[in-house]
Amino acid sequence: MDETTALEVHDLNAWYGHTQALRNMSLSMMERRITAVIGPSGCGKSTFIRCLNRINDLMPGFRVAGRVLFKGQDLYAPGVDPIEIRLRIGMVFQKPNPFPKPIYDNVAYGPRLCGIKERARLDALVEESLKKAALWDEVKDKLHHSALALSGGQQQRLCIARALAVEPEVLLLDEPCSALDPIATGRIEELLLDLKKNYTMVIVTHNMQQAARVSDTTAFFMLGQLVEFGPTSQIFTNPRDKVTEDYITGRFG
């Protein structure tokens, strides 16, 4: 398989007001691979992933310096439309956040915003997205019921389906399983491994077993800095940095 870089981060610094959240981050994420970001709370994991689709632009007082290249294009260059970025780089959040609308309308939301109106095309997109998210069989008879009636795990898969419906190239997942039980978590992990065939993914997680199970590459953050970055197998079996070793063996954090 070819190893093409999908996302490249160069000297990324980020601030909330006067508090610096990220310091001189440089790393790159490969296409059709899962990159896991681990580290203790407050280490900048979420800030980092939220820089990759410019969703943090919406935070008052947020500032960023450095470059994030997506297939060679700098996301923060002047003239770049964050909306276009978010269509190509989808995101799933920590807490399942379905819209208080029917399941169908949740999935069709993105495509409808892009101007797709034909019923047949929307139907096909909704079915396809729900199938990709391994949710179709559970909801195909209640597409017009409220999404809020689903269980937490189903809601999170719905959010994944919703993100896939706009046909992005990258999927960012910010602790997608932290609100789910182990069985629902297992299903999501299976799903991610399956989606890897077609999507580049970046997943922030608190769960080190999860990082070890699903990711190809792992980045370890501490206090807003990148401590170690490398193949997951190496990070977990033979970390180069003492701090990384202490963290993954549970000596702190």
């Binding site: 909306i83 276009e84 959040f93 956040n97 379905p98 819209f99 915003l113 409220s146």
Partner: protein, 293 residues
Amino acid sequence: MRIEAHTLARMLSRRRRMELGFKALAVTTLAIALGSLALLLLDAIADGAGRLSWQFLTSFPSRKPEEAGILSALVGTVCLILLTAVFAFPIGVGAAIYLEEYAGKSWFSRVVEVNISNLAGVPSIIYGLLGLELFVRAMGFDRSLLSGALTMALLVLPIIIISSREALRTVPRSIREASFALGADRWQTIWHQVLPLALPGILTGSILAFSRAIGEAAPLITIGALTYVAFLPDGLFAPFTALPIQIFNWVSRPQAGFHANAAAAILVLLAVLLLMNALAVFLRQRYQKRLNL
């Protein structure tokens, strides 16, 4: 620390007495509030219930109390409040959307915020003076329904803006982020996600604002609404009267018959208010049901 048994018992019994005392105090204040309201209502019913009739609702005012009715005042009030809503609701909600969703946290938005809160507390007669100068004289609308509605719209605008902002603020950030992450722009996010969720709150706040306006007499008297109108308003520029003015007028007459009329008109006004509040509750329930499906 160890507390001896009898000290503990004494302490606990004192706490229980305190608890009981506070409960009694709370019940008393509630009784005072509800009691005075009930007294007011009973007084109005005792004086006015006898005058309530179809004839009372469908007659124009008259010099003879037993022939007088509130048709022009009731129609005037309904027209006035509908027209007020037409002006104040879109402007108020629009201003709230701007302040909450677009303005950010600049010094400008803070200045506007403080001023709006202040405006909500300005006595209504001041709005009457403004309406008199601006709408009646400068813009030449005269003492018309339009002038009245515009004045009332100014009066309720701050309340609508404040309550709409509160409602917009209750929409969780996670919903907005979900929408933005799917490539929605700000307006699409507001229109498809934020407004539907905030609507029950916006409607409730606005209807409560309008029911406050319904009871206002001072600004209407200031802009010169008539007290004796023996015809129905036939357009925006028609002279008009409203229930509070009619009540004010009847109360200030010496004859007892007119006092009974005033009491009956108060009952009608209360019924209109109750109807509007019921509408607010109904709309809120309906939209919430739609959201939960």
